[in-house]
Symmetry: C2
């Protein structure tokens, strides 16, 4: 599915209309996708516009911007299974009187877990975007969370896929066949404590990135969310 | 992959050697699989014997029996992500002093959740097996957890797939192409309280099955495990 010939200009114009500071990044991202259309995620839904069309660009501009809006941790909306409390009481000796509290805190813990991967992307974006990388917010690029344009015309783009943990599911890496190498990195290990910042693929940024700095980012982010809430 | 011609006899003999009370059920299950080889799960591993071979029958007999051994709830072995505690403290106001306890109870809750589906199969087996169904322990049959032999020769087998919850992932239903209908049932709903026992597919067994009886089964099962432990 080819992109319309003036895709980059349309992209810049669409983004300028809704979120001007993102116009340049978004236009660059569309430049990458129009050169590597196999890497472009399709939109969902039965009436979704074709990849690369003007309407596709308009919808992706909205998604790229909206995915950067603040998002709060939230307990899952699903109803807990009562049998879990039975097991906690009968096998793990949680007192009856504590079961409600344990259920609530377990639910909050799941909500927190569900947000860590996104907080990680936001933290990385805060450091990487001022250094030339583009955060692919809104999952527009298959198998990449960040891309970096080449410094010289004709050179290769860098593609980076990040995961919070070594056993998180990969996004569909196999679906992208662009001849471009995808660099991969994960923050934590499922089988041991510690973090993996020392192995971050962009060596020039390693000194800027750390678990402590991520924690500080998360604290500030959540504090800002709380201030919005009150 | 066809089954060896005397598969049912080999199956009966292999099971008689390791767990005699299961010999008849296992032989019947192999009769079903030799008639519907597309429904037979492959064994894993690089040296796995071919589906339907004598060695396959020997290994499946061991698996069918071993999957019925008692299994305790266990917290996941993975290392918790410390950022979850940061979020609980900074956004959900869990006091610092409680974070260790919350982490431990969250881990036990996940261990309990991971066991509910298996407890459900064990409970169902306790009611269904005396009524002619066979529990496909050890995941030998693709997309079915229970099968029921026909009462008259040449009639169809019944296949039943059970899930703990309406949003649990399906096993690979699409992989089975035997012309046999797979009946499906789930115990709970992700979006509302209550249970689904009234919709259990075998109408003759509905009166025997209930959430209360399942709970009593779980309590007894866990009590027996605790007695083994001490």
């Amino acid at each position: 599915m080819p992109f319309v010939t003036n895709a980059v200009e349309i992209a810049r114009r669409e983004m300028a209309a809704i979120n001007p500071p993102l116009a340049d990044s978004f236009a660059k991202l569309i430049l990458f996708l129009s050169d590597h259309p196999a890497a472009a995620s399709a939109l969902r839904g039965s009436n979704a516009p074709e990849v690369g069309s003007s309407e596709y660009l308009r919808r992706q501009a909205a998604g790229f911007s909206a995915a950067r809006d603040p998002r709060s941790p939230q307990a899952p909306a699903t109803v807990p299974d009562e049998m879990v409390s039975v097991i906690l009481k009968e096998y793990f000796d949680i007192p009856e009187a504590d079961l409600g509290r344990v259920k609530r805190e377990h639910s909050l813990s799941m909500g927190a877990e569900n947000l860590v991967g996104e907080l990680l992307e936001r933290y990385l974006a805060s450091v990487l975007e001022p250094r030339g990388w583009i955060w692919c917010s809104g999952a527009m690029v298959k198998a990449a969370d960040f891309v970096k344009p080449p410094l010289t015309a004709g050179a290769a783009w860098r593609l980076l896929q990040v995961k919070n943990r070594d056993n998180s599911e990969n996004s569909s890496s196999s679906a992208i066949r662009t001849g471009t190498v995808i660099e991969k990195w994960h923050r934590t290990f499922s089988k041991r404590a510690g973090s993996n910042w020392a192995a971050f693929p962009d060596a020039t940024l390693r000194a800027e990135l750390s678990e402590e700095a991520f924690k500080a980012f998360v604290r500030n982010y959540l504090l800002a969310l709380r201030n919005l809430r009150t």
